[in-house]
Amino acid sequence: MSYRYAARKAVNGLMFTLAGFCAVATASIVLFILGFLVWNGARAINWEFFTQLPKPVGEAGGGMANAIVGSAQLLLLATLFGVPVGFVAGVYLAEFGGRWFPAVIRYITDLLNGVPSIVIGIFAYAVLVLPVKRFSLAAGGLALGLIVIPITVRTTEQFLRAVPVSLREAALALGASKWRVVATVVIPAAGRGVLTGTILGVARVAGETAPLLFTSFSNRFWSTGWDQPTASLPVMIFTYAVSPYEDWHRQAWAAGLVLLLLMLAANVLARLVLAGRGACRS
């Protein structure tokens, strides 16, 4: 009896350790990633990286100023297109839904969220690049915006639903019509949550590379307009990392570090925005 008990205790301890090892190892991958990027990127990063255009092949030096601006332009376009559509659709799901239609929309949204980003890129290519035979900033923005939409829909719905029913009832009892309740009570109450979701959604597409390869493509110079090919940080990382040049590898690390730091900053910012809400309530 006590022998069996000891054996069970031993199994318990062993599995505890194994499972704990899995969890800690998974978490420590983040530290590895961050460590390698800081180690390789910090040595490569300099003022030139942020202010200069890429140098032609074979010349050392140069930077990625155009790609940094290009990425910002792409994200702006994606946000302007994707966030409003996703937000209003999310309001519909949370507030105005009928019986079966919202369930269909919700399911489709989840499926869209799972579509590989490169397939979204093909779609943007077929719609905006193929007809005019030119890669463009607009096509890249469209692709990223299409990825933002399902993310925004679901986070908006989730945070609107978290607003207590009593708030709505109080406003309705005062005689406000439904749309006024939604617009002036529910949405402001869920504002911080929705903002968090938007930050995380935009941060996610900031690192998307695959849909940009054949929509916004790349450009060694400043992009001159929304209908021109435009460089972006993720695509530059890809091109430079698979190239055979030592100096390009160095710059790929620098760009990777910048991208990852932006990503971490967005995640921490989102946490702070949410934490602010908690503080207000208590």
Partner: protein
């Protein structure tokens, strides 16, 4: 007009406001549906030349020769399937173990911190995984791991042939790391949704913490965990950049995991901008269609499983 008449008119207008708001939001929600329909229609229409030319044989042909305009998807389907399955094989035991630890065994504070870090892992862009894979993962694979595998297990066809470092094994390992956070966080949620009584009953009859977790909680969350695995599989199938950077980009079929291969997403990423002929582009779009169909199918299944667990959890509680 009387005062009551004015207020009535105002009330009617406000009610109409509700209707307008309903219609406007409904229109935006329908956009989501419209996008999905357009996406399918566009992929289907743009791949027409290739579908007409090759028919179903496209899926079973091993030739991929843009110059001769011969296109077959088999090497890419093979590469995608092998790397994704390899990734699942490596990531599922690890991920489920971590999820059990986070939801059942760890003290809440440790669990909270580790969960946040694991979620950060999901936020790291694919191209950064690729960058690290090229310079940090591939060299040790080439110099230590793969020679070791060849020496010890070289009698298996899986580990024969030349060793380049890049190849199916490297791609599978990167994919495993990339899907790990999805498995961990979704499995963890499924485990957390299991009613408390389930654990307490097992502990009350004298089960150890592990026995309660393994025999009472995990079976209850089985559907949800399966759902997380399918979701991760869909991610792995569609993952592009990191795979493109380390799979070796060779449209061939070898039994060996050490040999270079190609995946559907990777060939689209590499050849799309260089494709000149209409047939080449159309064949690449058809590959996109195949990828789309595969991921939609697996995602749909995963979502149904997750819905089923959510419902079961609600009934149980």
């Amino acid at each position: 007009m009387t005062v009551s008449g004015i207020t009535r008119a105002a009330l009617i207008r406000l009610r109409n406001g509700d209707r307008i708001a309903h219609l406007v939001t409904l229109a935006f929600a329908s956009c989501v549906l419209l996008i999905a329909v357009l996406l399918v229609a566009e992929l289907y229409a743009s791949s027409a030349p290739s579908r007409r030319q090759f028919g179903l044989g496209f899926l079973f042909s091993r030739d991929w020769d843009p110059v001769a305009e011969q296109f077959g998807a088999l090497p890419f389907i093979y590469g995608t399937a092998v790397t994704s399955l390899l990734a699942l094989l490596l990531a599922v035991p690890f991920g489920v173990g971590a999820a059990i630890f986070l939801s059942e065994l760890a003290p809440p504070r440790v669990s909270g911190a580790l969960t946040f870090v694991v979620e950060l892992l999901a936020a790291v862009p694919s191209v950064i995984y690729g960058l690290l894979a090229i310079f940090v993962l591939v060299p040790p694979l080439r110099e230590h791991v793969q020679p070791f595998l060849q020496e010890r297990f070289g009698f298996l066809p899986l580990f024969q042939g030349p060793n380049y470092g890049v190849g199916l094994l490297a791609a599978g390992v990167v994919l495993a790391i990339m899907i790990l956070p999805f498995i961990v966080s979704i499995s963890r949620e499924a485990l957390m949704a299991v009613p408390r009584e389930q654990r307490e009953a097992a502990l009350a009859v004298g089960a150890t913490r592990w026995e309660a977790a393994w025999h009472a909680v995990v079976p209850y969350a089985r559907l949800g965990i399966t759902g997380s695995v399918f979701l991760a599989l869909a991610r792995a199938l569609g993952e592009t950049m990191a795979v493109t950077m380390v799979i070796g980009n060779s449209p061939t079929i070898h039994a060996s995991l050490l040999s270079p291969g190609y995946s559907i997403a990777a060939v689209i990423a590499n050849e799309f901008t260089e494709a000149m002929s209409e047939m080449h582009i159309s064949a690449l779009i058809q590959l996109g269609l195949v990828l789309f169909a595969l991921t939609i199918l697996i995602n749909a299944l995963a979502r149904l499983l997750l819905l089923a667990t959510a419902r079961k959890g609600a009934v149980g509680a």
